[in-house]
Symmetry: C2
């Protein structure tokens, strides 16, 4: 065990390969289906939205995929991110546990999202794409892709959920500073947006609507524009594996190995990013690290959802995948962790959870912010509300270790900073934060509309 | 020359000593005077506001002062900060110059300010202080001291300029999250605040007023509260020397040595932090690096001020020092770089400028934001408006090197990020940013009220 607090590595230690968990998956992946026919998709179908190299990564079973030099050059602007031992938090909790965190909040866009935004922009540029479309809720993903598109000279249209567009002008300005166009969704620029506005001119928008708008624009652009997604898909999760690959080396520097690895989950990408390289160690090298995904009680897809085929978006335009879902029509409560308000979960993560390879827990909003404030007051960093879910659970693990009088090595992913979320902190400090349970009836209702798939695989 | 982009060091390389430039100063420092008598201050006078160890540091001529282990432990939460070669910016400028920057924006409070906030809180705690008072304009300093006071269990009252308090609620919430009390200055809690409000109930406040309120509260607390200042003083600048001490080692890793070192100046602390260790090399080891301080044309204390004794605050309650000043009554235009809106300049920096040991240049607001946006689009990071002044000048140096066809190694300090300044970016992107020259008549008027000092030294 090292007596250091901060574990940094040199640029020469920057990973040269992404780790592709599908090479080691003990679970056969369910096929991805077309939303119209519910038949398996073909690469041709996907190629309307994505460049071929990303599609090949999506279905690849190669264990390591080389990170292009052009991508590594940009990773170097902020990677390797530091691994920190949270000594001050440990002391405050008076726990025998050792708590480590990987700080992805140091990226220019403020979260782990650039790890996949950069390669997605790169492969699109390489394939001749001129422009991308995407959606964003709270704005972490939109900011990251805006930065990446700017680096590769791609235009970007961001469909930003209208309520966030109004409440978070700073996120919008950040994307505009990087040169992107940002629209408040629903817009009158798409058929789907217009149909929503016709029914409700004051619609506040939703991630489902914004996805549908971004997909529609790309799909009807005659090949000029492609679409980009910030989570859920295999290739997206794979790009995030740089987090865990670095953490493996840094834990080695710390001369410790985690008993439990923790991350928050919305679509699943930051959790997969830190956890899958440790899953590889579990599957191939006899390690027994617990991998613990944390979701809000307000959108409990793993802990209260079903494992079934469902649409990726509310408008049924996105591919149908087998995943833990609350139903594509599920409208989550307005919790502040905007990045965790997705009805489904990455298919790979869903499959591993189903197979018992990973664990899940749901936490409420108020104890999550209690943890966030305690973290800020011990470690200094004000975390994103999403990341605070991981902090809550890391603290609960540390307190459990204390209760049992056992040493435990805990590693969690601090996926981003909360500089654009201070309104939520104010609500918490003023006692105005609500504490959502999962809305049972809403889940029941949303699940009544799952697609009827006659499965093949 | 290294082919790396990012130069990181291990925790074990964290400096163990601050560098005190006063040990090497070829200029005899002018005495600090009491504002009431204009006679030299005694330690007793200062001890009303500051703990003795900081006063001793203020007058010390020891070259290296050991950084307490308790302070180093907290530095480790974010230090050593990375040194980055701005390869993408160099390419965009098509310059033969090499541009390096030290990124202090990775600190939890978002700037270099914690480098001195942490030791100031530590020495106060050690001396038995229970609470500190301070002022803040844009909020960088207040956030840093709020974090530091929280770490050492000190209460903190922050007098925040009212117009900033209203325009930057996120900075206020950040301080509250760390557990501090924040007041919109002028308040009705102090004699001085009440007198201001009596004259103008709608006063937007100013840094001068806020300083006076914070000083009054500490001075009249019967020893219970001390006061803390975020720039200008010798001990503050010395604490910032960790920036330059690290940069020396990192430039060594890069196998280059800077021809010019650049920082923005308000009170002077971030510039001094990066520049003084290189000044030491100039004075003692025969190096000839140019040290270039950058100020806004709107508050051009070095380039348009006079070198004279003046009060540190508008209310004439703070000590009188010899410095480059625009006059303590100078009301700067409302530029977005709130941290650079000070009428004076650190005495040490003023003396070195007067002696020709450092250079200064003033830049306008619009070209500064042009540089900020180009930096964001090449290096990813959205800089603080203050730091953008250094970027503008670094780019001008790189373009000058290109014009002359010469290689030039440029190092600048990126003192903070601009996450709380995106309103200014929006104004720039919308063409609404004003471009201030120095207001000549305002300077003339403010200078007519300099104290008449019959100098001794």
């Amino acid at each position: 065990m090292s007596d250091q607090t901060r574990f940094t590595l040199n640029e020469t230690d920057l990973p040269k390969f992404w780790y592709n968990v599908m090479a080691d998956s003990p679970v056969t992946p369910a096929p991805v289906l077309r939303p119209d026919t519910l038949e398996p998709v073909t690469p041709d179908f996907l190629s309307v939205l994505f460049p071929m190299e990303l599609i090949m990564q999506e279905v690849s079973t190669e264990r390591y995929i080389e990170i292009p030099e052009e991508v590594r050059e940009i990773y170097k602007l902020y990677r390797l991110t530091p691994l920190i031992r949270a000594r001050r938090l440990e002391k405050a909790l008076d726990t025998p546990a050792h708590i480590y965190y990987k700080n992805e909040g140091v990226s220019p866009a403020g979260s782990h999202k650039p790890n996949t935004a950069i390669p997605q922009a790169f492969y699109n540029k390489k394939a001749g794409t001129k422009a991308l479309t995407t959606e964003t809720g709270a704005g972490q993903w939109g900011s990251a892709l805006a930065m990446a598109c700017n680096f590769f000279g791609l235009d970007l249209e961001v469909y930003m959920v209208k309520v966030s567009y109004q409440q978070k002008p700073y996120r919008r300005i950040m994307m505009e500073t990087y040169g992107s166009q940002v629209f408040a969704s629903p817009t009158d620029l798409t058929n789907f947006g217009r149909s929503v506005l016709q029914q409700d001119p004051n619609s506040p928008g939703s991630l489902g609507i914004a996805i549908s708008e971004a997909v529609e624009v790309a799909a009807t652009s005659g090949g000029k524009k492609k679409y980009s997604l910030g989570s859920v898909l295999n290739h997206v999760l794979m790009h995030q594996s740089v987090i865990g690959e670095e953490a493996l080396k840094q834990m080695d520097l710390a001369n410790e190995y985690p008993d439990v690895v923790i991350g928050c989950v919305g679509g699943g990408s930051n959790f997969a990013g830190i956890a899958y390289p440790f899953l590889h160690e579990n599957l191939k090298n006899g390690k027994r690290t617990r991998l613990l995904a944390v979701e809000p009680t307000a959108t409990p897809s793993l802990t209260k959802g079903v494992y079934a085929f469902d649409y990726g978006d509310s408008a049924k335009m996105a591919p149908v995948v087998k995943m833990y879902t609350l139903g594509h029509g599920f409208i989550p409560p307005s919790i502040h962790a905007g990045g965790l308000r997705y009805h489904g979960m990455a298919p790979s993560l869903s499959a591993f959870y189903d197979a018992g390879l990973i664990e899940a827990v749901a936490v409420r909003q108020k104890p999550t912010f209690e943890a966030a404030v305690q973290f800020a007051r011990t470690e200094g960093i004000i975390p994103a509300p999403e990341s605070a879910h991981a902090i809550r659970t890391a603290m609960d693990e540390a307190l459990d270790a204390k209760k049992k009088g056992e040493k435990r090595v805990i590693l969690f992913n601090l996926s981003g900073h909360g500089h654009f979320d201070l309104g939520a902190y104010e609500a918490f400090l003023n006692g105005k934060l609500e504490d959502y349970e999962h809305p049972g009836e809403a889940i029941q209702a949303a699940m009544s509309d799952l697609p009827k798939v006659s499965v093949l695989a």
